[in-house]
Symmetry: C2
């Protein structure tokens, strides 16, 4: 049996997982990202664990999913939420330490490759995965490969300007998709429609509970979100004509309250030549292990 190491680097915690060919997570180890003031110390500790695991598993390679990870360069580049600044040559550092092949990608691209190799997109050649969470990201798969673009930073779906002069975005511009369809963007829509702030302790799923109780503003929030995201997905479809669009992330816990309006507005706005050809699906990656599965998929050949 072949095994793959997947490392999910977050601003607070890092998870290292060992995944087998079937996509089963056989063990995980956790590290505190914040406690390493240099990437070298981080690679030393995580690398030692990999060397130890290698005595048990025949590892094919190490995949790393990280914010601002660049597949071309193997670097993390200027990630605002990590303790290490500038360009970090993570792939090289890990290969030097462990002698294993190492690849790096950003979270959304890893998630798309995870869907391709371990999830609902097995056998597909053209699809898009959209991550909804703190931000909105995407991985675009064309002919079985992730679209990286000239500089490695393709797939910034969350930064489509969908509303000229709309809500201010962290990127410094106005009206980006993620200001409306990230978890925070959805909550903001609810605030605008109801005049009430959602309890900050509550997750976005709470909006679905409110909708189930007939809360009008909650239902309208989902409709507004679906209208904006459905149109954006119809537009993206006209460019890459995918077989499916997978939705992934916390807001999907709202279930049909969220996905029904997305589907409705997607269908309504889709160019007729694509009608009934493009499925909107929910990611099949297990939520708790999606990030390490995505990372491990970077070093796994497709089925």
């Amino acid at each position: 049996m072949k095994f793959y190491a997947g490392i999910d680097i977050g601003g607070t915690n890092t998870t290292l997982g060992i995944i087998n060919e079937k996509g089963e997570v056989v063990e995980t180890h956790h590290f505190s990202t914040r406690s390493y003031d240099t990437p070298e110390k981080f690679v030393e500790d995580v690398g030692n664990k990999l060397i130890e695991l290698r005595t048990t598993y025949s590892l094919e390679g190490v995949g790393i999913g990280a914010p601002n990870g660049n597949y071309y360069t193997g670097c993390i580049e200027f990630a605002p939420n990590l303790p290490w600044k500038g360009k970090i040559a993570l792939a090289v550092l890990f290969t030097q330490k462990t002698n294993l092949i190492c690849k790096v990608a950003n979270d959304a691209n890893s998630a798309a490759l995870g869907e391709l190799k371990f999830g609902g997109a097995m056998g597909m050649k053209n699809f898009i995965l959209v991550t909804l969470g703190t931000g909105v990201g995407s991985g675009i798969i064309v002919e079985g490969n992730i679209v990286l673009g000239h500089d490695g930073f393709a797939g910034e779906l969350g930064h489509l300007i969908v509303m000229p002069n709309g809500r201010p975005c962290g990127c410094g511009r106005l009206g980006c998709l993620e200001t409306y369809c990230s978890a925070g963007g959805i909550k903001k829509t609810y605030l605008e429609l109801s005049g009430k702030e959602l309890d900050p302790g509550k997750k976005i799923d709470y909006l679905a509970e409110l909708a189930a109780q007939g809360d009008k503003a909650a239902l309208e929030t989902f409709d507004t979100t679906g209208r904006i995201l459905g149109l954006a997905l119809a537009n993206v479809s006209a460019l890459t004509s995918p077989e499916a669009i997978f939705l992934f992330g916390g807001p999907l816990h709202c279930g049909k309250y969220l996905t029904d309006p997305i589907q409705e507005h997607f269908t309504k706005n889709l160019l007729s030549i694509y009608k009934d050809k493009i499925k909107i699906l929910t990611s099949l990656l297990p939520v708790n292990h999606s990030a390490i599965l995505g990372a491990a998929s970077l070093v796994k050949e497709p089925h």
Copy 2:
């Protein structure tokens, strides 16, 4: 020297060209598309000419650019402006007749491949070509290959909905990019801004003459067009992160009156990580031969 045959099929006329490795058109022949009531008769005549030309040139293959041409199937599929209805298996018909390799693509995809193999995109791996004319089309090149999508119909940039509830489009929806940025769309903007219809006998270049004379509505028309197209191109760039975007077609004869506002609004709307990385360029394909060069590029390996 290697030679390639390029066939440009239009609703009225068909041009067959012989192109050498340097992208020089060595001879052309013309056929009246309309005078053939069946595709079989058309292939018989054009095929006989190819067989004749083959005695002079060592032909590598035949590329065909046609409305609704599908690269995957080698068919023209339900093209509204051609005399032949339904699905026409053009590649198979030509190969049966001539024994030459034959590939089919739509006009915008052929133009993008023409730019890659004979034009300004030689050596590039990631770029987009945008055709402005009766409609607005595009060919998206990722890692040196044209993006065809699941069904062969990717690249419909002209049918991005850029203005919800905007101008009615031929596709049956509202607010598509091509209702604003096609030649007709630009003229309509001028009509809306000036209250005056452009002389239907005049080409779109006439608007540049008006602008040069200080016609305020003409200048505003270019600014509006640039605002809409510049934003759309910035959005598309966030998805595929190209090295360049080539603009192609009749409206480009308006020169800087058109391209300056496109560049201005593109730069203004571009996500900061792409700043100064993506060039807006005018196609280098010779206008009179672009369609046959594009078609011939379908059977030419890249440099």
